[in-house]
């Protein structure tokens, strides 16, 4: 029995030692050098930008595990939304206009308003109560963000919820195992596990997804133009326009291409939550390529319905609405919704200037 007990002790002790060594190592490999969060790496497949690697993951993973950083700043401006907001609002550009607060971009590609609401919840959870009045959310909205839950999440679980359930952080949907003040210690404890995850992503999944993405778009779908040395030079083909119409009809899941109230109501819920927590909210009505706005029935439906909901938002209070819908030409987009890199600078500067006037 002694030999078994000895072996068990040696095993546990060696494991603890190894874990501690890897834990220290993660601070050398991934030192915390930045004071802002940015989910932009998700978009690196589309461009030649060098990917940035975070230990805490990317997209939804970065939001869930990296948000501890928010508590360290006195004032935060958090951009949320889907891929258009990821690419359109660049924190380094916006930061030039802002002296009183740190700009973060926690938008997640392929989101709808339900997921944006979850990001808002997580950010609120990570922000100490006494700092919430210095918290400002920017939500980039277009009709694409209003895809119904049944179409967007057929399994009933969003990407954010999946990340929340990983590593045992949350017991079930929204039920945390830790007090909001303690979860960051747990995430810190997880660093040796996260580094394995990150290395796996870097070595295997990134290359795999990039290859699949390339094959898919190069040969299987008429989107070859996306693979360009310079996204600023991309122009959209007629074939692609037809493809987008068909694809959006399929994705939005509405027979008559109408935008329902479900996701608008989620936006109302978000503004209520933000208002109750004494934070601020700015809704940005995002532009789309004009050729698409003219043709899309979804867009027409969105235009018709939005006024009513925007009025309701204003009634809640502490909500600003910025209309950017018609500030761009077709040439400013590399597809129907995403801005070219040079357009991103324009958008970010525009928003930065507005925020600076709000005394940031």
């Amino acid at each position: 029995m002694r030999i078994v007990a000895k072996q068990l002790f040696v095993l546990i002790f060696s494991f603890a030692l190894l874990y501690a060594v890897i834990w220290c190592f993660t601070y050398i490999v991934y030192p915390t050098t930045r004071n802002y969060l940015d989910t932009y790496q998700d978009a690196v497949y589309f461009s030649n930008d060098k990917p940035e690697y975070y230990l805490y993951g990317r997209g939804a993973g970065l939001v869930v595990r990296g948000r501890g950083l928010l508590a360290e700043n006195v004032s935060n401006i958090v951009v949320t939304g889907a891929s258009t907001s990821v690419e359109g609002f660049r924190p380094p550009v916006m930061q030039k206009y802002i002296t009183n607060g740190i700009v973060h971009n926690l938008s997640i590609g392929a989101s709808n308003m339900t997921q944006v609401g979850q990001v808002v919840d997580l950010v609120l959870e990570a922000t100490p109560e006494d700092k919430r009045n210095n918290l400002h959310f920017i939500v980039g909205v277009s009709y694409v963000l209003l895809r119904p839950d049944s179409e967007m999440w057929p399994g009933g679980v969003t990407n954010v919820e999946t990340e929340m359930l990983k590593y045992g952080m949350y017991k079930s949907k929204g039920e945390s195992r830790f007090r909001s003040a303690h979860y960051k210690y747990f995430i810190s404890f997880l660093r040796p596990i996260l580094i394995v995850d990150e290395l796996f992503r870097r070595v295997v999944t990134d290359h795999l997804f990039k290859t699949i993405w390339y094959i898919n778009n190069k040969w299987l779908r008429p989107m070859q133009f996306l693979i360009s040395d310079n996204l600023n030079r991309v122009s959209v083909s007629e074939e692609y326009k037809v493809y987008v119409d068909r694809e959006m009809h399929r994705r939005m899941g509405s027979v008559n291409d109408e935008i329902g109230d479900e996701q608008f109501e989620r936006l109302i819920d978000i503004s209520k939550k933000v208002h109750q927590s004494s934070a601020k909210l700015t809704v940005v009505d995002l532009p789309l390529a004009k050729w698409h706005m003219l043709k899309s029935k979804h867009f027409a439906s969105y235009q018709k319905n939005k006024m009513h909901f925007f009025e309701r938002l204003k009634e809640i209070g502490t909500v600003n609405i910025i209309d950017m819908q018609y500030m761009n030409n077709d040439d400013d987009f590399y597809d129907f919704a995403h801005p070219k890199p040079q357009t991103s600078v324009q958008w970010s500067s525009y928003l930065g200037e507005i925020l600076s006037k709000m005394k940031y």
């Binding site: 029995m1 030999i3 078994v4 072996q7 068990l8 040696v10 095993l11 060696s14 494991f15 190894l18 874990y19 999946t162 359930l165 990983k166 590593y167 045992g168 997880l190 040796p192 596990i193 394995v196 995850d197």
Partner: protein, 482 residues
């Protein structure tokens, strides 16, 4: 109590301490009885739910004792018939569905394996292979030994008693034994929480795609999704079961038991029959001893000029044996028929190919790598398609598609999955050879204590990583349901 639960870990530690501190045969028997009882009772929500299986055990013990005192064929027949009928009734087999059901919920955990052990005891006691009278405590400790209760391996009483009854002092284990056991346990958990979980995740994804296909979807599309689903389920089952066995055998060593191996690289099997000599070996051996051999013996006695029909009797014996094995796995008749046909066709092919090619050519062919990979691919894919009836209801397909469509699809899927599996086998072979060499170096006894521990720690790290990364619960142990 799940083998992957925290409670099980605690239970093992307490049992291990109790197991080591007891002295003397009687004390040891009683302590083992309490350990087994504690483990067994963890599966019951209510006392009433345990009553049927307890009655089954008491009846079985009575019949074993009866066989010991009255060694008559009639008593043997009655005893076997009685235990099988009680078993079938409690397990709610369809052929006894006419009988009224018990008016309360009860658990039949490990009952199949208890039945195997009881039949073995009755037959061997009757035949005189077990000479000593078996006490009730020893009987319970044998039938309900916590490590093998749920799913085997099926240990012969003679082997079990040699180890169990000889325990009069604390165990003497060498460092190599302990390191080997720890390594085995950790490998088992890697298979369960890592590989089995990965494959069940892939399976659920593919299965969902498969069932979403509508009637009229092209055969190729159906074949692709069904192929993916069936192969991933097969690998899930493989890692699930072998992982469980690794844990059981490893713990067995720490508890002082050398349990028989239940797997011998089944993915290397190049024929259906060879597969069953490598997969769930103790079950195959049990069926050979207590079903196939008596059946063939009986057929030889019944059939006139049986010498002329040796091959046919053998084929029939294999067909019937695998039919029963299949039916035991699941009441779906499709699996039973596919296993029965697989065994029979394999036997026919063996004889046929020997006649056509001759012994020399067959030997040369069997030595050919390409031929072997194809055979292995076809074997794995045939089994993967067969066991699809563990997760798929045949009526769903039957109502969806015509019989001809199903038949054509079966062969198409078999051929496609077989070809892909054959290619996978080539990769598997290379990986297995590399892993084997690596393992030999790592687990070499001359290796320093530090290196051995580093090896164990890396396994522990993989387990922690695998269990944290997944958002799905650890996969349940499949064979527990049989």
């Amino acid at each position: 109590m799940s083998f992957t639960s925290f409670h099980f870990g605690l239970f093992v530690i307490i049992s291990f301490i109790a197991n080591n501190y007891c002295r003397g045969k009687t004390t040891y028997g009683l302590v083992a009885f309490l350990i087994n009882l504690a483990f067994f009772s963890s599966f019951f929500d209510t006392l009433l739910g345990a009553v049927p299986i307890v009655i089954f055990l008491i009846t079985a013990y009575f019949l074993v004792v009866l066989s010991f005192y009255i060694k008559k064929p009639f008593v043997l027949f009655i005893s076997l018939f009685a235990v099988m009928m009680i078993f079938s009734y409690l397990k709610k087999y369809t052929f006894v569905s006419w009988s009224p059901e018990l008016p309360f919920v009860y658990t039949v955990i490990g009952m199949s394996y208890i039945l195997f052990r009881v039949i073995h005891l009755i037959v061997d006691v009757y035949e005189g292979s077990i000479k000593d009278k078996i006490g009730f405590i020893d009987f319970i400790n044998y039938c309900c030994f916590f490590l093998v209760l749920v799913s085997g391996p099926i240990v012969r009483y003679q082997d079990f008693s040699l180890q169990y009854l000889s325990k009069e002092s604390s165990l003497l284990l060498s460092r190599e034994d302990v390191v080997g056991a720890f390594s085995r346990i950790l490998t088992g958990y890697i298979k369960i929480v890592g590989l089995s979980a990965l494959f069940i995740f892939l399976f659920s994804t593919f299965n969902q795609e498969y069932w979403q296909l509508k009637v009229g979807t092209g055969g190729k599309v159906v074949a692709v999704w069904f192929g993916y689903a069936s192969v991933t389920y097969f690998f899930h089952l493989y890692f699930n079961f072998t992982g469980y066995m690794d844990v059981v055998i490893g713990l067995g060593i720490l508890f002082g038991y050398r349990l028989p191996e239940n797997f011998n690289k089944p993915l290397l099997a190049s024929s259906f029959l060879e597969f069953w000599t490598r997969w769930h070996i103790t079950l195959s051996e049990w069926f050979r001893t207590y079903f196939f051999n008596p059946l063939v013996k009986w057929l030889n006695g019944v059939v006139k000029d049986s010498n002329k029909h040796v091959v046919s009797i053998g084929i029939l014996g294999y067909f019937a044996t695998f039919l029963v094995i299949g039916y035991w796995h699941t009441p779906s008749i499709c699996l039973a028929i596919l296993l029965g046909v697989g065994a029979a066709v394999n036997k026919i092919f063996q004889g046929f190919s020997k006649q056509i090619f001759g012994k020399k050519r067959m030997k040369r062919l069997n030595g050919n790598d390409f031929f072997n990979y194809i055979c292995r691919g076809l074997t794995i894919s045939y089994l993967a398609i067969s066991i699809a009836f563990l997760w798929m209801d045949y009526r769903e397909i039957y109502f969806k598609y015509s019989f001809v469509w199903i038949a054509v699809s079966f062969f198409m899927i078999w051929a496609v999955v077989g070809a892909v599996s054959a290619m996978a086998m080539v990769i598997y072979d290379k990986l297995a050879r590399f892993a084997n060499r690596f393992h030999l170096v790592i687990e070499n006894q001359s290796l320093s204590c530090m290196a051995t521990n580093a090896w164990l720690v890396s396994k522990l790290f993989i387990i922690l990583y695998a269990s944290l990364i997944t958002i799905n619960p650890t996969p349940a142990f499949i064979y527990m349901g049989f």
